[in-house]
Symmetry: C2
C-alpha cells in the first residue's frame, strides 16, 4: 500500500506550505460539498483508510472529516488535475458537509445584487458538536477561521 | 453596479496574497471543470461582464478565460462558502476548460494503484493556441506552472 500511495504523492505538486486545495464532491449528484486542504499525510491517510482526511490549518493537525461530528466522507475516487496542484475527491457524504448544518458550504449565492441564502440547515449545529455547542467546531475539528479552507462539519 | 459588486467583495475573505480559490462547475451537469484563483479585480470583472475572469499567478495579470483559446465560461451564478474564502462559479463552458483540450482538468483518477487517464482530449491543443503551438498557453494566457491554479484553456 505504501508503494502505491507513494505513486500518488509523486504526482501531486504541493505548494511551498506543503498543501494542496481539495474539493469534495458528492460522487453521484455532482454537488460540490466543500473545499479543504491536504498535506502529504492527509492524502496518505485518505487513501489508506478510504475516508476523507484533511489538514486543519487552524489546528495544524490532521483532520479526519467527521471524527467529532460523525459527518464522514467515504472516498469513492481520488482525482488530480492537469498540473497536479488541485485534487478532487469524489465522496459519499454521510449527513451534512458544512459545520452550519447545511449539506454543503456554498449556500450563499449572489442574486439581484445581494447575497441570498439558498439552503437551510438540515441539522442543528449543536447536535453536531454537543460538547461545547454550535461554535465548537473551529476549536475541535475544523479548518481555519482565517483565510483558509471551508468550515465543514 | 459598483455598489453591488462592492457588496460581494465585502463578504469575500481574500488570503494575504489577495487571492481566493475559485472552482468552475458546469451549471447543468455538475462537472467540476477547473480550479483557478481570483483577486478582487477578477471578481469585479466576472460579475460586471458575466464571463469568468481569473487572476493568473504566473503572469500576475487578469486572465479573461478563453480570451486566447475562445473557450470562454459564461457566468450562471456566483456562490460563496460558509467562511467566505472559496468561491464557486456555476458556468456554461464553451468548448473545453482544460489547456490539454479535455473538457475538464481532473482527468487523472487513482485506480487500482495507478493513475488512469479517464478522459481524452476533445480538441487538439494546437488548435486552441495556434500562434505558438500546444505549449503556448502557459506563456499566453494560463495560470502558473508552479504550485498554482489548474492549467485551463
Amino acid at each position: 500500500m505504501t508503494d502505491t500511495i507513494d505513486g500518488v504523492l509523486g504526482e501531486i505538486r504541493f505548494a511551498p506550505d506543503g498543501l494542496v486545495p481539495a474539493i469534495a464532491q458528492q460522487h453521484d449528484t455532482g454537488e460540490v460539498l466543500m473545499v479543504a486542504w491536504m498535506n502529504r499525510e492527509a492524502v496518505r491517510v485518505t487513501l489508506a483508510e478510504g475516508m476523507a482526511c484533511y489538514w486543519s490549518r487552524s489546528r495544524q493537525a490532521l483532520w479526519r472529516k467527521g471524527d467529532i461530528s460523525g459527518q464522514t466522507q467515504r472516498l469513492v475516487e481520488f482525482r488530480l488535475d492537469c498540473d497536479g496542484d488541485t485534487v478532487l475527491l469524489l465522496v459519499d457524504q454521510h449527513g451534512v458537509a458544512c459545520h452550519t448544518g447545511r449539506r454543503n458550504c456554498f449556500f450563499r449565492a449572489w442574486r439581484n445584487g445581494a447575497w441570498t441564502m439558498i439552503a437551510a440547515p438540515l441539522v442543528d449545529p449543536a447536535q453536531l458538536y454537543p460538547a461545547s455547542g454550535s461554535n465548537s467546531r473551529s476549536r475541535s475539528e475544523g479548518s481555519s477561521s482565517g483565510p483558509s479552507a471551508s468550515r465543514a462539519s
